[in-house]
């Protein structure tokens, strides 16, 4: 019995391994590429959400499909520069009546273009896009509503004179002007900025109860039994003693503006957007911004006759209802999405000429299966995660060719200026990060160490930047000593406290930056400090970073298309997780945004990045590459666009896709 079982298992194993070896060569006949011409191209893509409208898309993978269905007014060329596509944008700086600089963009589209249903394309289809993205209920990824377009705020907040409204609010609720009554009302409504926990005795946050806290502040709360009464007394105390710590103005701003939104539509038009003729419109920006041209022209032309039939300000539901049935003027027409497969057909009306491929299909595939599917001929183009092993396999298969392009993002290690306030300590830590061996061993040629916190895919990145903080234990020690740390009994201490740093990393077991932290922990230990490495689930890590609960963290930025860093390093930035506030950085960022000349701007960016490096709040680690693999068995490789880059790859963009031919 046992013998028989053993024999059975052994045979099974032999069969498995034999068929495994012959794998890559055996499946060729599956592809259907037996000499006869193929009219269908299959792209292997990651999981889709089925929102094929870039205005509302919730995944970059859905956008890969939308980009083939819609055509953009302008698009990015191989270097990430804006170039004409279905239209053109003209920039003109003008002086406003009061003398400040304004910028007028003239957006024009080609004449005689048609949507895939045969309807003509006009400038209304461009303007429609602006209005949807500027809608007060818009919840997609476009930042157009935040652009400084004349009349945008009035439209967005639905008030005839936004400046006047804000002034009124400020006159009434700014710290100097606010009445005691309004202040106390704010404190009670917000529960003292979400501090009061509605319980008795409750917890102030440091172990004291509310009554104890009030007693320490000189208020008698001994007779209070109800939470509401406690809140009233607390509000009184906070108003009288700590008013400067609260921000009633923002609260009332939100409140008044929101109240304003509820009462029907008062503002129907965005004043700065004007239609000139059927193919031209102008968009007036109230200030100079390097983003302006992209905001108005790197956008999909969206047919108003199809999406806009029931569009009313404040209600986008009729547009969203069509998320699964897109219609545009791009190279391909949407046919159906079912069984995890998106089917598109060539658009005969496409303005660059009908694509050579009659049918384009997107099949959802697992990352692990991508190479197998390519080898078997089931998929023609796909993008497996770039690893040294995968690149080797591609080299071994004669049918496969690939292109490696830089990912438009980078990995970094962030430091919190709030939790590690001493710049010298941060600098010391920076000197303990040994990046090159970690990146080299993980990625090999698939990534490079970068020296400034910006992706080198951007034209503004200072290509000649030198290493700012080299790996140097002695220097680190110097900085720690400068900060006042001394080694006592083998421990690095200041004011009796040991230097202890907590760092968060996601999925440490397979993270390229793990060796940096391991070495850092050892080095810091030998210096007498301690580095606690927290291996966290990515969501938890991000939550902790946002909540400012970590001294250091390992993360990555993605999808950079411009050099604006105000959200990350600006004082008012929503993603300024380091909490480092420097008015000099704010100033230079404001200047960068206004500098339209690339050379001048690059100089400023280099200066800004040096300032950020000097603040020791971010150590850039690696710039990795993305992989796109083509199956020469089915595709005529010579017809693929030359010089495929980050901004012109086939999966993500539709650049020149109409010229690609199958065998």
């Amino acid at each position: 019995m046992r013998k028989r079982l053993a024999l059975l298992l052994a045979t099974a194993m032999v069969v498995c391994s034999m068929t495994g070896c012959g794998g890559s060569s055996g499946g060729a006949e599956n592809g259907g590429g037996s000499g006869s011409s193929i009219d269908t191209m299959v792209l292997g893509v990651n999981k889709l959400n089925g929102v094929f409208n870039q205005m509302f898309s919730t995944s970059a993978f859905d956008d890969q499909i939308s980009d083939k269905i819609f055509s953009n007014v302008c698009q990015l060329d191989k270097d990430g520069k804006l170039v004409d596509n279905a239209g053109h944008v003209e920039t003109e700086e003008i002086k406003a009546e009061d003398g400040h600089e304004q910028v007028k963009y003239t957006v024009s589209i080609k004449k005689d273009m048609k949507f895939s249903d045969g309807e003509p394309v006009t400038i209304d289809d461009v303007i429609f896009y602006y209005y949807v993205c500027a809608d007060p209920t818009y919840d997609g990824n476009s930042t157009l509503s935040q652009a400084d377009i004349v009349g945008m705020k009035e439209y967005y907040y639905d008030t005839k004179d936004y400046k006047k409204l804000v002034k009124e609010i400020e006159d009434k609720y700014s710290p100097e002007n606010i009445s005691e009554e309004d202040f106390i009302k704010y404190l009670i409504d917000t529960k003292c900025a979400d501090w009061f926990d509605d319980t008795l005795p409750g917890d102030v946050g440091d172990g004291r109860s509310w009554a104890e806290y009030l007693k320490d502040e000189g208020y008698d709360a001994s007779s209070i039994k109800k939470p509401e009464e406690m809140l009233e007394l607390l509000a009184k105390c906070e108003y009288e003693k700590y008013a400067e710590n609260y921000d009633p103005l923002s609260y009332y701003k939100q409140k008044v503006i929101k109240k304003n939104l509820g009462k029907g539509t008062k503002v129907e038009k965005i004043a700065g957007i004007e239609k000139v003729d059927d193919y031209t419109c102008t968009v007036l920006f109230d200030s100079v911004s390097i983003k302006g041209d992209r905001e108005v022209s790197w956008i999909p032309i969206t047919p108003v006759h199809y999406y806009g039939k029931d569009f009313k300000k404040g209600d986008l539901s009729s547009i969203k209802a069509l998320n699964g049935k897109p219609l545009g003027s791009g190279p391909f027409t949407f046919k159906k999405y079912d069984n995890n497969l998106v089917s598109l057909d060539a658009n005969p009306y496409y303005f660059e000429g009908e694509p050579k491929i009659a049918h384009l299909k997107f099949q959802v595939v697992n990352d692990e299966d991508k190479l197998d599917l390519l080898a078997a001929g089931d998929v023609d183009i796909t993008d497996p995660s770039a690893s040294l092993e995968i690149v080797e396999q591609i080299k071994d298969d004669d049918n496969l060719t690939d292109s490696l392009v830089d990912n438009p993002g980078y990995g970094y290690i962030g430091l919190s200026a709030e939790r590690i306030p001493d710049k010298n300590v941060r600098k010391g830590l920076m000197h303990l990060m040994n990046r090159a061996p970690a990146v080299q061993s993980y990625y090999g040629e698939l990534a490079e160490v970068i020296e400034r916190p910006m992706t080198p895919t951007l034209a503004e990145y200072p290509k000649d930047a030198k290493e700012y903080y080299g790996y140097d234990k002695e220097k680190a020690k110097e900085y720690f000593e400068k900060a006042g740390y001394k080694k006592v009994d083998g421990k690095l201490v200041k004011d009796g406290k040991q230097l202890k740093i907590t760092v968060g990393i996601g999925e440490a077991s397979s993270h390229p930056s793990t060796p940096i932290l391991t070495q850092m922990a050892n080095d810091l230990k030998s210096l007498g400090g301690e580095l606690a490495v927290n291996d966290l689930e990515p969501n938890v890590l991000f939550n902790k970073v946002q909540g400012g609960e970590l001294d250091m963290w390992v993360q990555a930025w993605g999808n950079s298309t411009d050099c604006d860093l105000t959200q990350i390093y600006g004082s008012k930035g929503g993603s300024n997780y380091s909490k480092y506030y420097d008015s000099k950085i704010d100033d230079i960022q404001a200047e960068i945004l206004k500098t339209l000349d690339l050379k001048e701007r690059s100089k400023l960016v280099a200066k800004e990045l040096d300032m950020i490096m000097d603040a020791a709040i971010c150590m850039p680690v690696y710039q990795r590459k993305n992989l796109e693999v083509y199956n020469a068995m089915n595709i005529n490789i010579d017809t693929l666009p030359k010089n495929i880059t980050t901004y012109t790859n086939i999966l993500q963009y539709s650049t020149d896709i109409e010229k690609v031919e199958m065998n």
Binding site: G31, V42, T58, S145, Q146, N339, L341, N366, N543
Partner: protein, 322 residues
């Protein structure tokens, strides 16, 4: 009986209410909400936009307030709009239920059809070669990690022999219609079903075997044999029917698995079903979908136990509910 069923339904409603509270609480406690996940890594999002999005998605409300508004809508049959799919939760579930139910349904049927006869054979020939072989295979199945087994099957049948597809639901290049399309779909389901059945059949099989052994040693089986009844009748009529009682309970409990049990298998073969969708929803914090889906599963669990309790009475005449 009728009264019993009505009472059970009444209790179920209360249980569902409790479940919904717990679920909503858990969903909201998950670190990193949808807006945070969606905007993570995007350098251009302003705090104002994030705030606005939280308002649009109802994430600015407290847990209690949020739950009450969810419950109000749910009672009117409105389960909200999925954040990720931008479509009503009900239609998302309707869209993806097909593949899941076909995969899990066929697999469960096969499991039952395999487990019951094999379990009975193993029990009848206890400690024989047949018994050992069946039990060994069952245990191998239970112990096999499905991702590994799937990889082996793909190597052998898809890449090696080239007879079955690696993954996906249809042959992308083919454009089949009608019956050919149906066959194409079927072909893509073969490997997932094998994975599902092989890794899942063992538990039920061993359960059947253990119960059969117990029944076979019962007095009435010995009596039946002593009466001179043929073995076929002893097993088929006296022993088998009594084995069915616990088995029916177990099968009833498997009903919710029809909708949720295929998370890993679906993911491995690139099938778009409810399990895979739910997994994404957890990662991204799609609260409306998670609530709708989990309530659906909770409902199915309650229906499953109710059905098995009723079937209990059908297979065992001694059981009476009052």
């Amino acid at each position: 009986m009728k009264q019993y069923i009505l009472k059970r339904i009444g209790i179920s409603v209360l249980v569902l209410l409790g479940v919904s509270m717990l679920l909503y609480g858990i969903c909201r406690m998950v670190p990193g909400d949808y807006v945070a996940n969606m905007t993570a890594g995007n350098q251009n999002i302003t705090p104002e936009m994030e705030q606005r999005m939280r308002e649009v998605y109802g994430l600015d409300k407290g847990v209690v307030e949020g739950y009450v508004s969810w419950l109000k809508d749910a009672l009117r049959g409105d389960f909200g709009t999925s954040f990720i799919y931008q479509e009503s939760v009900v239609s998302v579930i309707a869209k993806y239920i097909g593949p899941t139910v076909s995969l899990a349904g066929i697999s469960m049927l096969l499991e039952i059809l395999l487990a019951i006869p094999l379990g009975i054979i193993a029990a009848r020939k206890q400690y024989s070669r047949t018994d050992y072989t069946i039990v060994a295979i069952a245990i191998i199945g239970i112990s096999l990690p499905s991702f590994f087994f799937a990889a082996v099957l793909k190597r052998v049948f898809a890449i090696g022999l080239g007879v079955l597809p690696v993954s996906g639901m249809v042959t992308a290049r083919a454009d089949y219609v009608g019956f050919a399309h149906f066959l194409d779909l079927g072909k893509h389901f073969v490997l997932p079903i094998i994975v599902f059945v092989v890794t899942g059949v063992g538990g039920l099989l061993r359960y059947v075997r253990t119960n059969m052994l117990e029944v076979l040693s019962a007095d009435y089986v010995r009596t039946a044999r002593a009466k001179g009844l043929p073995e076929r009748k002893v097993i088929g009529k006296h022993a088998f029917r009594n084995t069915l009682i616990p088995v029916v309970t177990m099968v009833g409990g498997m009903i919710p698995n029809l909708f949720s049990g295929a998370v890993i298998t679906e993911g491995l073969f690139g099938l778009e079903g409810l399990g895979n969708v739910a997994l994404q929803a957890v990662y991204q914090g799609d609260i409306p979908y998670l609530m709708g889906f989990n309530m659906f599963i909770a409902l199915m669990t309650l229906v499953g136990t109710l059905v098995s309790d009723i079937l209990y009475a059908v297979v065992d005449p001694r059981v009476r509910y009052n």
